[in-house]
Symmetry: none
Subunit: 352 residues, 4 copies
């Protein structure tokens, strides 16, 4: 039985991580830790197990705890992950790895020093449909994959305007780091995690900047705090050359175009795939002069369950996860390069 601690008991923890640990017969949650004590206590009450604590040093000091899920705001990902690894714990840290590439590199350094597991919560790597696509790409079904276009554009979806999500010192960034990390990671994963070469991009902070004037219908993690901070990007565009396909992205937490376009197009010279994010996908090919459109139907196992199961299994077996910091750090590097390119108004060269 692996003893687990949950650090940060917000939405993602209670809806996803905790449930998945509860459903795994090899894990037992010993601590629910949150600086907001009420949240930790609610978890104890809801899940009928564990001890509520405020200070995560209690977790660090308990040699019983083998595994930790870190579900805090982004600015705490690096320091807590590092502290946990140094205390001998295996870590599953929510995405993004960190606010900056420098922080992520530091995390990887400590992972290598300590030899502890450090997986990042890029949960789409455990999504059934995404893995079907990856298999097809890697199997050559698409021929040469030359271009990928990822669109994560929403009309109005800034989360918690004025709060942690829109404060750079906490979140590290906005639409790019919050949504883009998922889209870029899916692209990297399905493309075989190719090395990025050049990155030219631009981010924009426009629609949320006058908090009181932002018109919206629903707000996740809302309502807005008119006295809060808004210094992150709500729109991004970038062009990334890699050793594999060229990647183009357009993203917006909010834009004055009334559409939701959340998809990734994989363009191969033999076939292509449009994945509707979080939903299904279609395959487009050709044969004997006929154009083929294929709709797959399949059962999806809960991807968070897969993620947690894989984390726990890896602790036992040493098996390296597809969400290991070694591969996930590539999208961290790309995201950093987009922010850098945007500041410099020029392309950034990563490897050449």
């Amino acid at each position: 039985m692996i003893k687990v601690a949950i650090i940060g008991c917000g939405t993602i923890a209670s809806n996803k991580h905790i449930k998945a640990y509860m459903a795994n017969p090899e894990a037992e949650i010993k601590y629910f830790c949150d600086i907001n004590r009420a949240r930790a206590e609610k978890a104890v009450a809801d899940f009928k197990c564990g001890i509520a604590v405020e200070d995560y040093s209690i977790v660090l000091d308990d040699p019983d705890v083998e595994a930790v899920s870190i579900c805090t705001p982004n600015h705490l990902h690096a320091p807590i992950s590092i502290a946990c690894m140094r205390a001998g714990k295996h870590v599953l840290c929510e995405k993004p790895a960190a606010r900056t590439y420098a922080e992520a590199l530091e995390m990887r350094k400590v992972q290598r020093e300590t030899g502890k597991t450090l997986n990042i919560g890029v949960v789409n790597r455990f999504n059934t449909g995404v893995n079907l696509i990856r298999n097809m790409v890697q199997n050559g079904d698409l021929g040469e994959l030359y271009h990928v276009y990822a669109s994560f554009r929403s009309h109005r979806s800034i989360p918690g305007l004025g709060g942690a999500f829109t404060t750079k010192a906490i979140a590290g960034g906005g639409a790019l780091i919050d949504w883009g990390v998922h889209f870029l990671d899916i692209v990297m994963y399905c493309s075989g995690d190719p090395k990025p070469l050049t990155v030219s991009g631009q981010t924009f902070s426009k629609l949320g900047k006058e908090i009181g004037n932002y018109a919206y219908i629903n707000m996740w993690a809302g309502p807005p705090n008119p006295a809060g901070t808004y210094d992150v990007d709500d729109c991004v565009t970038a062009l990334i050359r890699t050793e594999g396909p060229v990647i183009t992205i357009n993203g917006a937490w909010a834009q004055n175009i009334g559409v939701e376009e959340m998809y990734i197009d994989f363009l191969g010279d033999k076939a292509g795939i449009r994945l509707q994010y979080g939903k299904d996908f279609k395959i487009y090919g050709a044969r004997d002069g006929a154009l083929l459109e294929t709709t797959p139907v399949f059962n999806s196992r809960d991807m968070f369950q897969n993620e947690i199961d894989s984390f726990l299994r890896g602790i036992r077996t040493g098996e390296k996860s597809p969400a290991h910091i070694d591969t996930v750090i590539l999208s961290s590097q790309v995201i950093q390069a987009i922010y850098d390119s945007s500041e410099q108004h020029a392309e950034v060269i990563l490897n050449r």
Copy 2:
């Protein structure tokens, strides 16, 4: 009465230019010129006027002719335009200006030396809807226009595979120069023809490369010629920084994604517009906390008629056309930079 010569009597000439001259009371077509004599003679018969000639030097030598429409394949745009201007003719040359930026610069140089009119057939500058959008942008209705995304992506639309359209020596390029020129020119026109600063792009020549294996349903300017040439781009992506908005484009004559997405998104911080190419547009804004979607309905005057009328009026009045080489050369410069960036796998800096 302005005496006109038509050089090149193919589809665009007979369907558009000639009809518009016929409908303008101040113009009279004196020559139909085509190296394929039958086409020139057919025009004489169909339109019941003019003289059929094969050699355009007859046009050059006739001092009666004031104005020339050049509707030849792209590789003849520069030499014929230049010869006409040097012979004292005003020129309306079909788009793209030329195969390369160097050719276009040479055309502009001769225009400046001779003082003759040199308009390029960027006919969307005479489109009613496009002008409504331009007026809104220039008037500040969109607030700051920070990003423009142009999508010209088709499932299967390579024209005349193996023929003039897909032979670089004739056409200068593929999807980018043939379709992209229209989309980029609309973007530049509506944005106030801002100076381009950096260009990073990649073009791909994939789906047409095995001519015999290209699956398709209909082919404009077809059927394919299996023994012909295919050395142009069928897919392009690029990111362009300008003194105005950042521009991202995705284009494909053909792609293994079964959609037709032909539109331009203008993203402003007060409002935005999605223009469906060749069709209508929608305006997205907000007011007093409400999100507004506005559908304009309007009468469109035939844009080719506007183009020809403007050309003829300019000859009489000296009024500079929005399609003058001085402004159109900007998209020529951007297209060249995309091809250059693609070859160098790196961003090209134009002005800084």
Copy 3:
């Protein structure tokens, strides 16, 4: 230039055969022959070529004529085909080959004696979609093809009730020989023309038997002749074992079930196909645990044009057609066996 005679100038001749010969640059129609002289003369007038004759012995006697299309009622297929081959003509005879298997065997015998071409108008062998399916089956894409179900069931479609179509002495049979021949032939063709082994079937002559009481909405080749003959099958069911798949058929020119179900299901252990007769098809497969439904889109060349072109090309080159009597005779054998099994109320064994 191949000189052609058309024997029988009814609907199938004028709508299909004649037009296809006119569109083939290597053929020239010399005779239009019909016992109804007015029909032959109308063809001469409509198509502005050829000579109208009533007696097909004129065709037989003209050494100029190389090729003949036989578009008469079924009872004349055998005698005229045989006479033409004996007179040295190549023959394309409309389907079914003949009224009975015995007649078809006689035709094949004469074909072998004379060495002349004898193709049967099983035109679906020249259908683009059918050939795509055949290629997939033969290529193993369906795995083992173990069962085929052909449904040709209509609510009300008895043609020309009381006329040639419903008179056994003329037509040889009803729904089975008129529609079933197409469905069985597609099945045989796509399955690789496997040898039939056992046939158990039953035909029924029910809904047309009281001609005056037959309720219907539209009637092809109508209206009904209350004084005419109705002694053919309007419904059929059969189970056929072959060296390849087992085949089940249900057919009805008319039935008291208000549906039109005109399709063929090809069931393989790796994938399956439902072909909507005369329309499109869908492919059903599986991959990595996902169920795939694929819709092909393709250009169809006119199948009658393909049929005639293939007939003419075969005359020049000696190339054996997929519609040669040697393969088509298999469905003739199966149809005969269904009629025999129906009379005997017992399975017929063909090969074992």
Copy 4:
């Protein structure tokens, strides 16, 4: 009050039989018997009555028990039914009667010897809609019923792959015996239980044979057991001549055609009926030249309640049930003949 024992306390027992006995004022359940003691005990707890036993000899030995419902896997139907009748009990045995016709004959023999009731759970004979159809057929509303087509084809519905359902020694067969028994029995019942004459059929065991590679979305009685047995039919086709209509069936627990087609077509020369299995039906007729489509709407009494009520009433009154072994044995004979014909690749003659 009739004392009842339930032997086998799985799904069909608890969802159907037990509830119906509880709702009948003349019955009282004394024993819940299951070799899995926990299931028997759960029934006692859920229904708050009876005694949980593992060994059905306790039932046999208790003279108090008059009636027994046998809801075990198929291989126990014959031995337990026979033991119960010999012990003086009236028996309602779930369908199919037995794994083989020989077993069913043995059951009938013992029924005749003992004089006890032996009804089979062909519950559709107690379905309101089915009885409406039977009445119409028997009343001559359809005229001569000449052909019946039963389709029980599903895309993916193999139950409990690798378990009892797919193990021949337990279940006796697959799609044919599990689903076909219902469809054939409805056909026989509505047609007046005509004597079968000839049977030609073929069964196939294809889609489940590689248990690990079977793609599916949901599985009833699942999940699959990769180490289990799969030696039953997943597809069947057959043609059956009877003293009444000819019957054609196509059935599939699974097939690579993405449809669910579960219906029976009754073709009469005056009218026809399509029954959607488990749902409603439509009547197609004609009158005064008009084609009529009639949709009946009616209240359905729960068919399991009808079945149990009829069983209990028969015990009191001696009234013979429509589900008596004497009539149900006909479909047992037909099913056996289909399996035999499939093995012999030839038609089986039953009566002539």
